[in-house]
């Protein structure tokens, strides 16, 4: 072997050395008597075993660690339903302005007008792009937005004294957060099947609707990557049964400026600003999941909301909205994410917003056609792609013994992040692919080339796929061992 194994996988704890410290960061030690007011019985006996390392060690450790990640800043990242588009660096700089970073969440309104102006305008923009009548920015991610939304549905029925609505309907393609949310709001979940074209099975929906129906949660375009064509009929069915319509906005990118959830008949929606509004995912978060509502749900919006009196902005809280479902966090949502989304909305403006839906849809349909041409199988070949689409490798799994997982891992060797795999569950061996509007045609073509090469490899040398990835800091990891022999915390 010509290259020595110089990989360096130490944990920060393994770099620790008793007595070492990043001196510039630590205030000087105080004389013990300055702590005398704290009773001994409440004092810690030994210092917490944080690592004892130098500042350079920390910088080097996390700089090197970071380089073991794929990221949009480095790779094409077509993760379906996640909208991995370019995260403008300008948004980061604006949100990190010292004036914004230093503002205490409970600062008086007199010292908050600049910040509140941004939030107020963001509320107005979101109303316009979604066609909803009221918006609260407070939910901290999509799932918390869902919670707020379904809680409002519940509050609405309760306020009308409409008892007995105990069920939320959810199409089987739905994201896992939808049923989990319904349960957190005290509902039971009834799944609605999806038909062969990717649309909801309308007959089944009709059969499922009844006086027990509190509402229906759905995405449109759905996570099957197609636009639900019977949306009018669905809305009518649910509404006639006395239920409300919830829109999971994870796929809003597909229709920005093209159709508005409010116009489709939805009563309540959440948006994922960390998807549609290009705020970064940060390796798992933070997000922001504002909710929008129709007129009749406005009284129930979670607090606080920004209101305006003349040219002064002010917080609206429970005193202003006595029927509010209340407060979902200690303060008011992920302010820094909202500021980034505000930046994005201002740069895009009206025209830019409309282009998002158009070009993300163009990219997805192009990529789908090209992939079909090199031998991939579309799950819904008769349908237009929305901003994303589904491929299935059921055939390859059967004839060649390579799974969608194998193909996904092999893509990493081609320096391409894998699409979402095995979701939605109803399509076997699937890839959900979302290229977004910010990738060039060349980037899409490179992905097609990689897929074509991998399909050829699958035929000629399937072990290449089953052993993949080969080029990453680690080879394929043993998930079963991870769950069986739990090692969640490092012990010396």
């Amino acid at each position: 072997m010509s290259t020595p194994d110089t990989r360096d996988d130490l944990l920060i704890f393994e770099r620790s050395h008793a007595g070492r410290r990043a001196m510039a960061q630590a205030p000087k030690a105080l004389p013990a008597e300055r702590l005398a007011a704290i009773p001994d019985s409440l004092r810690r006996r030994a210092r917490p075993a944080l690592p004892e390392v130098s500042e350079l060690q920390v910088v080097r450790h996390y700089t090197n660690l970071s380089s073991k990640n794929f990221a949009i800043d480095k790779q094409f990242y077509p993760l379906g339903s996640c909208t991995m588009k370019y995260n403008p660096r300008g948004a980061n700089r604006a949100a990190m302005l010292p004036g914004f970073l230093g503002r205490h969440p409970l600062a008086p309104e007199s010292h908050s007008q600049g910040y509140l102006a941004c939030l107020y305008e963001l509320q107005e923009f979101l109303k316009e792009v979604t066609g909803m009548k009221g918006v609260s920015l407070t939910p901290m991610a999509g799932a918390q937005g869902e919670f707020a939304g379904v809680a409002m549905i519940r509050a609405y029925h309760e306020a009308r004294n409409d008892q007995g609505r105990t069920e939320i309907l959810i199409p089987e393609a739905a994201h896992g957060t939808n049923p989990a949310t319904a349960v957190m709001c005290g509902y039971t979940v009834r799944e609605v099947p999806v038909n062969r074209d990717g649309d909801v099975d309308l007959e089944a929906l009709k059969a499922a609707c009844g006086p027990q129906t509190a509402g229906l949660m759905m995405t449109n375009p759905s996570t099957c990557g197609v636009f639900e064509r019977q949306i009018d009929a669905i809305a009518k069915t649910v509404h006639e049964a006395g239920g409300l319509l919830y829109y999971d906005g994870a796929n809003l990118n597909a229709i920005l400026g093209k159709v508005r959830p409010g116009d489709m008949g939805f009563d309540v929606i959440h948006m994922n600003l960390h998807k549609t509004f290009a705020t970064p995912h940060g390796g798992g978060g933070p997000g922001a999941g504002p909710v929008g509502v129709s007129e009749r749900l406005k009284p129930f919006l979670p607090t606080p909301i920004v209101g305006r009196d003349g040219d002064r902005y002010r917080w609206l809280d429970r005193n202003d909205l006595p029927q509010s479902i209340g407060q979902l966090s200690a303060f008011m949502g992920n302010a820094g994410v909202l500021l980034r989304a505000y930046f994005y909305a201002r740069v895009l403006g009206r025209e830019g917003m409309i282009r998002v839906g158009e070009y993300s849809t163009l990219a997805a349909n192009y990529l789908l056609k090209r992939l079909e041409a090199v031998g991939c199988t579309a799950a819904y070949p008769e349908r237009r792609a929305s901003h994303e689409f589904l491929l299935t490798f059921a055939k390859e799994a059967k004839t060649l013994g390579v799974s969608a997982m194998d193909i996904a891992k092999r893509l990493l060797d081609y320096n391409q992040h894998a699409p979402t795999t095995y979701f939605p569950l109803l399509v076997p061996e699937c890839f959900l692919i979302e290229p977004t509007e910010t990738e060039t045609k060349e980037a899409l073509d490179a992905f097609v080339d990689a897929m074509a090469a991998i399909l050829a490899e699958a035929k000629n040398d399937p072990e290449l796929l089953k052993g993949a990835p080969w080029s990453q800091p680690v080879r394929r990891l043993d998930d079963v061992k991870a769950a069986r022999e739990l090692d969640l915390v490092w012990r010396e």
Binding site: L50, A95, F147, G326, A418, R476
Partner: protein
């Protein structure tokens, strides 16, 4: 088209490959009457330069005051390295680490975070963050109800000494699952939760007791007594703690004879800027035996095909994407980046650094209390020892004094009358390690002037 790279040529080539004539054709499955109008309420797009200038103006509009607010969010020095590294594209623009092999950076960072939090709290395990301290407490309450199989009541003891915003959020989040929060009264002398207050609940079925240390008023509870009391009655103990304070205070894992069962708190003090309230992160630790009831992402260490160590998402069967309606929570996106910052922060501070930060916070707050109570009519409201906040009683309503201070550039603290009319003349103040002796004098001088004015 901001951020969209396609030229007219590209578009033509792409449409040709699709077999469509116009982009509009791609939307032909959408019923025509549903198509959106012109979005006239949106303004025209601006350049990065214009939006940056606008936001810079707004940001500086709010800046400049000297702030003595705590009440759940704390201004600490954040080493420059923390966010210069956390905003590296590799951390900043990665998704949740679903492809483990291409996400070892994020995954190892989380594993280190879990270890750090377990060590700081004295608990066995940690998750990879929840939204914030308040929503984290709701998750802890729901988790306790699942974990305490013996209790059937759905009731949890929630002292008044817990941050009212946390209590409200827990109420609002848990209400639909039939959870009942039963209040435990505050001792108005000490500012703490006394055994006497608990004994009022003796003999009833509660799944858990919540203990905040320090409590909302900055006071230190007798956590050992409270913990033992709850455990003796079959309740679980949920600790709500300030992570900076843990550098000095008994970790929840060592409270009483058995230690707390679940620990949550606001992670913001660990290197996350005040930033108007977010993104922060809630941390959540527990005893090993409860790990399968814990919500949120958890990272495990495992090996690859060649036996080399690596990190991956684990115990996913608790999560919504696998378990759907049977999941422990609906949480999906969490607060990863803030948690990454906290990991770097804790590594930089180290055991001694964090302890010194905590000590300075405590000492500065004591200095602040001394400086302010030296003024006529100002006194400390409670007798219990405090960590880095304290309640001051003023000779006039806080709602009058605070705006007058704000007009002088001093954000003087939290008006406790907002939550409790009996405390309308009380202010919760805080001075972290970032407040200097001059800052404290400036506050004292401004307060003296305001009180003199009002008196006049």
């Amino acid at each position: 088209m901001p951020y969209i790279p396609h030229t007219p040529d590209d578009v033509q080539a792409m449409l040709a490959a699709i077999g469509a004539e116009r982009i509009e054709d791609l939307f032909d499955e959408i019923p025509e009457h549903l198509k959106a109008g012109r979005l006239d309420a949106l303004p025209e797009g601006l350049s990065e330069m214009e939006v940056t200038a606008l936001m810079a103006r707004r940001a500086s509009q709010d800046a400049g005051a000297l702030c003595f607010l705590g009440a759940g969010a704390y201004e600490h020095h954040i080493p420059a390295a923390v966010w210069e590294i956390a905003t590296r594209g590799e951390f900043y623009t990665a998704y949740t680490p679903y492809q483990a092999e291409a996400s070892q950076g994020t995954l190892q960072t989380i594993y280190e975070f879990q270890t750090l939090m377990a060590r700081l709290t004295g608990m066995d395990v940690s998750n990879a963050s929840v939204y914030d301290g308040a929503s984290g407490l709701s998750e802890a309450v729901l988790m306790a109800l699942r974990a305490n199989r013996k209790s059937k009541s759905g009731r949890v003891l929630m002292p008044q000494a817990v941050n009212p915003r946390y209590r409200q959020a827990v109420q609002d989040i848990c209400v639909n699952q039939g959870v009942e929060l039963v209040s435990v009264s505050l001792d108005r002398d000490s500012g703490t939760t006394l055994p006497a207050a608990l004994s009022a609940h003796e003999g009833e079925d509660y799944a858990a007791l919540v203990i905040a240390q320090p409590n909302f008023f900055g006071c230190l509870e007798d956590v050992h007594a409270l913990t033992d009391w709850a455990h003796a009655r079959g309740m679980l103990v949920i600790a709500v703690v300030n992570p900076t304070a843990l550098a000095l205070l008994t970790p929840p894992g060592e409270w009483g004879t058995e230690g707390a069962d679940i620990v949550v708190g606001e992670g913001q003090p660990l290197g996350v800027p005040l930033s108007s309230g977010g993104p922060y992160f809630g941390f959540m630790c527990c005893k090993q035996k409860h790990v399968r009831q814990m919500p949120g992402r958890i990272i495990g260490r495992t090996v690859d095909l060649e036996g080399r160590p690596g990190f991956t998402l684990t115990l996913q069967a608790r999560e919504q994407h696998i378990r759907r309606s049977k999941a422990t929570s609906n949480i999906c996106t969490n607060q990863g980046l803030a948690m990454t910052a906290a990991t770097i922060y804790m590594s930089l501070l180290g055991p001694e650094g964090l302890e010194n930060v905590a000590a300075h916070c405590h000492a500065n707050t004591r200095d602040l209390v001394a400086a302010l109570t030296a003024l006529d009519g100002v006194s400390e409201a409670f007798t219990a020892p405090t960590f880095h906040e304290a309640v001051l009683r003023l000779p006039r309503p806080a709602a009058e004094v605070l705006p007058a201070l704000a007009a002088r550039g001093i954000i003087g603290g939290y008006d406790l009358g907002r939550d409790d009319p009996a405390l309308a003349d009380c202010v919760l103040v805080c001075a972290t390690e970032t407040r200097t002796a001059e800052d404290i004098s400036a506050y004292a001088a401004a307060l003296a002037a305001v009180l003199a004015e009002e008196a006049a």
